[in-house]
Subunit: 251 residues, 2 copies
């Protein structure tokens, strides 16, 4: 493996991948930061290029060389110049997107369906929560934030490498499955009391508008997180965590 | 009540309150956006000045005039120029800080103690969660994010008006109370199984370093959120929500 210099053309290419259009075109994305890159090289993603400081490269040489087609060392200043976060001065990688492969949700299984979660930070946080609770299937509507956005990847803290994300229109998907479809609404069944024996696809609504009318029609279990105080609502990621915790506890 | 113009001196004054030092000096802070300002005028905070667009002012005139010493109308562009968020073009208010008054936590009561939660977004999210679960006392260490930071207030979605926040060194505070002190650690008691009959102060650790050594020594109940998948950890606000949900469910 030859150590290369970080060329101007490469810098330009990597920076272009900050834009969704170019990520789509190239079918590549950029993973930044030590924690995320270490999860990446231990995953089934194909890594084209890995760029690290001498120090980080020396620490993980064997792992990096086994996983990436090409490894390059660079100065911290070069790395932070090419990345999208100021603090990413240790390592970044260019990896190949995975194809958008449909999955089924079998009776007794759990999945999340994200109905236009627009904020990449929320999407990443939800993937991290799903991963914590062992819910490895997440369907995201086409209007949801992009899995491969730098902020999504960063907020997922590496969980994007484990959770299967399938981008699809929710209504046809939810119509095609036989497990219950759960969604949070006022006055639904309390998550503190209910059983989940048949599994479920849990729909998480948009940050401002909640669950869309079209998807609401397909919800077969209206659920509610009991409230004990004055706040009007919970953030989408927070609600996801509380629901997942109750699922795992009661299932 | 006379409607005034938004003077240059006033714009300068309000902008200065974006900086913690000036907030401290003036003992005043700025609340931005309709949702938060409506919560503010319905709270016990003293409102010095309220600046709204003609439209929002007309909608809430009575409420605004009853609560604020002074009301001013302004154009959306003027409002967004003086606020710290681009989207705050409807209304903002200058209110007086509350004095930092100690509280006690009685047997059977619940409170949160934030051990250097540095991110204002996390602090605001935690206040919103505390409010949802009716946990109305939050102690924050002096190194934690500022309650009156625009991002904290924004993320709290108005809950800052209801939850009592007391800034204090955690170790002396926790030494002085008779309720159990709970903190999340690996290998602790599962929150899914435990009872909370005596109440608790739940310590939430710093985003990167968790609970400090000094505070850990005062923890009398080591608790754990059960994990079912691959993620290494949960975000501080997410963990808070799951713990609060389990407290209210099991108490």
């Amino acid at each position: 493996m030859a150590m290369q210099m970080l060329s101007k053309a490469r810098v330009k290419y990597i920076k272009s991948l900050q834009v969704k259009k170019y990520r789509q075109q190239e079918q590549r994305f950029v993973v930044e930061g030590k924690k995320s890159v270490l999860e990446l090289v231990n995953s089934t993603f194909h890594v084209d290029v890995l760029i690290a400081t001498q120090e980080v490269y020396a620490q993980h040489r064997e792992r990096f060389e086994r996983s990436a087609d090409e490894c390059i060392t660079a100065k911290p200043s070069e790395l932070s110049a090419v990345g999208s976060f100021r603090t990413n001065d240790a390592v970044l990688a260019v990896a190949r997107m995975k194809p958008n492969i449909p999955f089924n949700v079998e009776l007794g299984e759990f999945a999340l369906a994200l109905d236009d979660i627009r904020d990449p930070g929320n999407l990443g946080a939800i993937l991290r929560i799903a991963d914590w609770y062992g819910i490895m299937k997440v369907i995201t509507s086409p209007e949801s934030a992009d899995l491969y956005n730098a902020k999504t990847l960063h907020a997922s803290m590496g969980s994007f490498t484990r959770v299967n994300v399938y981008v699809a229109e929710l209504a046809p998907f939810l119509s095609s499955i036989s497990v219950p479809v759960a969604g949070a609404f006022l006055g639904g069944e309390s998550v503190h009391g209910m059983g989940w024996g048949n599994g479920a696809v849990v729909v998480i609504g948009n940050e401002s508008n909640g669950i869309s009318k079209e998807v609401e029609r397909l919800v077969t279990r209206r659920i509610t997180i009991p409230k004990f105080g004055g706040a009007e609502s919970l953030n989408a990621a927070i609600a996801t965590a509380v629901i997942c915790d109750n699922i795992r506890r009661n299932a």
